[in-house]
Symmetry: C2
């Protein structure tokens, strides 16, 4: 950064252009998205060329000198400008413009994934981001955003993923039925997480059925999976409900299913 450069305010053309990336249409058109805060920015900078521009306040330039040094293009910004770009109250002075990083399903499959999460019509970006984070923690290789699922580059999703968006293969796909077919054709077992499924998760774990490469299919928060889609999988699996709750929420169900697979994979590896 040129010393003494006037920081960009909220009305500067570059800030205005970047702010448009809060809208899906503009993200889709430009192939760019925003990542806020030092944690996400650090993850984004780990791959050369991914960050096209780093907006940083004077304070952040001092505090995160390593990140600023790693960015190819740093734009100074004042607090007002930053506030207009960031969706959180405390982005700690940093917002990065990043290139989309999703890969085709066929590419993700060439890496022979052992654990995949597929989101079909998950509408809440916070839920989608939380599943991304949980899938990463469980050691998943890829997360597929299929059909009517929220945009992975939605700001809330990026933040809820807590950096995990940058850790595994993110796939954007169309019809979830086509995704299920491709996964099965690749040799993976596809399991539908379904509160009304006829297979119990614990029983499958006991029977050793979870030790194979597995893709979990998760449906919408409100409606679950369409019956036709669930029936196209290898099995419809329910997380057992031991108490009086009617169901689990999406993120909790995903955590239990993905960790059950992770545990089964590691038992077999021993």
């Amino acid at each position: 950064m040129r010393p003494g450069a006037d920081p960009f305010t909220r009305r500067t053309p570059r800030v205005v252009a970047a702010r448009r990336l809060q809208r899906r249409r503009d993200r889709d058109e430009t192939g760019l998205f925003l990542a806020e805060g030092p944690q996400a920015v650090r993850e984004a900078l780990a791959v050369r060329g991914r960050v096209t521009e780093l907006f940083a306040t004077a304070e952040a330039v001092e505090r995160y000198a390593d990140l600023v040094a790693a960015a190819a293009h740093v734009s100074p910004i004042d607090d007002d400008g930053l506030a207009s770009l960031a969706e959180t109250v405390t982005p700690q002075g940093l917002v990065a413009v990043c290139r989309h990083l999703d890969v085709a399903l066929s590419e993700a499959l060439t890496r022979r994934p052992r654990l995949v999460a597929v989101l079909a019509a998950v509408r809440d970006p916070g839920n989608a981001g939380t599943v991304l984070r949980t899938a990463d923690a469980a050691g998943a290789d890829a997360v597929v955003f299929a059909g009517e699922t929220v945009d992975p580059y939605n700001g809330k999703c990026v933040r809820a993923s807590a950096g995990s968006l940058f850790h595994l293969d993110v796939v954007r796909a169309g019809d979830p039925a086509v995704v299920v077919t491709a996964l099965r054709d690749s040799g993976m077992t596809v399991l539908a997480a379904d509160g009304y499924g006829n297979h119990d998760l614990d029983t499958l774990a006991d029977d050793g059925a979870l030790g194979v490469p597995t893709a979990w299919l998760f449906g919408s928060e409100a409606h679950g999976l369409p019956a036709e889609l669930a029936e196209a999988t290898d099995a419809r699996v329910r997380v057992p409900i031991h108490g009086r709750a009617e169901s689990l929420n999406l993120a909790a169900a995903a955590a239990v299913c993905l960790y059950a697979s992770a545990r089964a994979h590691r038992r077999i590896a021993r």
Copy 2:
């Protein structure tokens, strides 16, 4: 309901009084809280005397005749009045004023619980409600809201619990350290969910250490558990992180821990 009664609007004294229950201070003072929508109202009505007043629109009176018949006191309300009482966009015409239902920890312990979740300084009501729902699904007997944890009667918590607030013993307690001592004195094993814990959850499960009556202690979303509190438990347990995520979010970690206990309890029962 008296046929032809004028429905209460947003300015009616009863609606104004009920609306105050959106604030914690008023909930604490009156010992009342609000539950919205047919699912929560149905759960609330299951215990006689719990619902002190049911606000219902004309449409809801027709549609949910069974619920209206079960309520001791029904107050007609118009859409404007309902909108001012409800925190969701779609309460489907029903808001109930309910009596607090928490019990003392000593009372919950007389029922010899096998699985308990303790929230210490959990600040987000949505997270707390989700853990309530997950604990219920996992067959927990009680959830303790300790120390600086959010009010269980917060509207967002009630909604996120999806009815589970009404299914198990809810305890409001002070100092979490006192709760830990009481739980241990009662013979329960207390495990701290701690990303930096020295025990691995899977190893404990493999060793059969989860088969005993267990209370899980969960800390704040931002800071986890204070070291002193975690050290006062029987063990600090980490959910294994197999990928590159730094941590799991609270609700996901709680789901994995509580379901690991549920599974261990049921293996022993067989």
